[in-house]
């Protein structure tokens, strides 16, 4: 391993480590980032399948375990942002839907989120943004398949 290699590796390690800790944003006061992800998931289900999301759907989509989803849905439910409805087809399942307040909150947060990242895309420009997408995807795939690193909820 030559020195250029060593330095490059060191820099990549450093950047990954910093990016890992880049979050902790609260797009909207009173709502957590992980809850936002649930809201996004429910909305997507509503849009794509025309019905609420099951706990297991959200679990798969977010790559977290179902107890984690249960807790987040509980929290969103007590904030009045989502509702649990029963699935007439399968009484074991529940369908999580957005309340009116949930819809509104999601809209606001999505806009804020989006504009932040859209700012980045504009800043980098189309070409660099595409490059970044490709490089991150490639890195992600490599790390997923070639290291003993445990990935969050890697079950598929």
């Amino acid at each position: 391993m030559d020195n250029v290699d060593r330095e490059t590796t060191q820099k990549i390690m450093d950047l990954f480590s910093r990016f890992r800790r880049l979050h902790r944003a609260c797009p909207i006061p009173g709502i957590k980032h992980s809850e936002m992800r649930i809201l996004f998931g429910v909305k997507k289900s509503l849009k794509v399948h025309g019905c609420g999301a099951r706990i297991s759907d959200l679990s798969r989509g977010m790559r977290v375990t179902s107890p984690t989803v249960t807790q987040l849905v509980n929290s969103l439910e007590s904030s009045g942002l989502v509702e649990r409805t029963t699935d007439p087809q399968d009484r074991r399942s529940i369908r999580v839907i957005l309340t009116k307040k949930g819809e509104e909150t999601l809209q606001t947060a999505a806009d804020a989120f989006f504009s932040e990242f859209h700012g980045l895309v504009k800043h980098l420009g189309e070409e660099k943004s595409q490059q970044l997408i490709e490089l991150l995807t490639e890195s992600f795939n490599y790390l997923r398949s070639n290291t003993p690193t445990k990935f969050a909820g890697e079950t598929e």
Copy 2:
């Protein structure tokens, strides 16, 4: 905002979200990732300044608060990986140094860590690795300066 833009932004958001959750590796059983970072910091201080690291040095270097460092150093101390020594120049300060066991543990973990990322660098190749470094750095700088997002321990 056109559709290409929208799609690009969506992808970047997604990738960032996934990368944020890409960690949770325990390089060495019995030692946590955050503790490893302390070990790295102490080693660096020993190498660069020839003396142990102060709590405040580690806090600045890791971009976390000093109580966080205190706890991690406590944990490492009770595992026998580091030791607190008093600074004769300033009796308020302590100097954290590595024990023999700490040196060994660090070496093993550093190798494991390094080879994981070195694998990525080899996989991507020198050119793409450099590109990734540049793009991540640029993105990081942008996000740091242009969003209300709270960054971990951003105090400098």
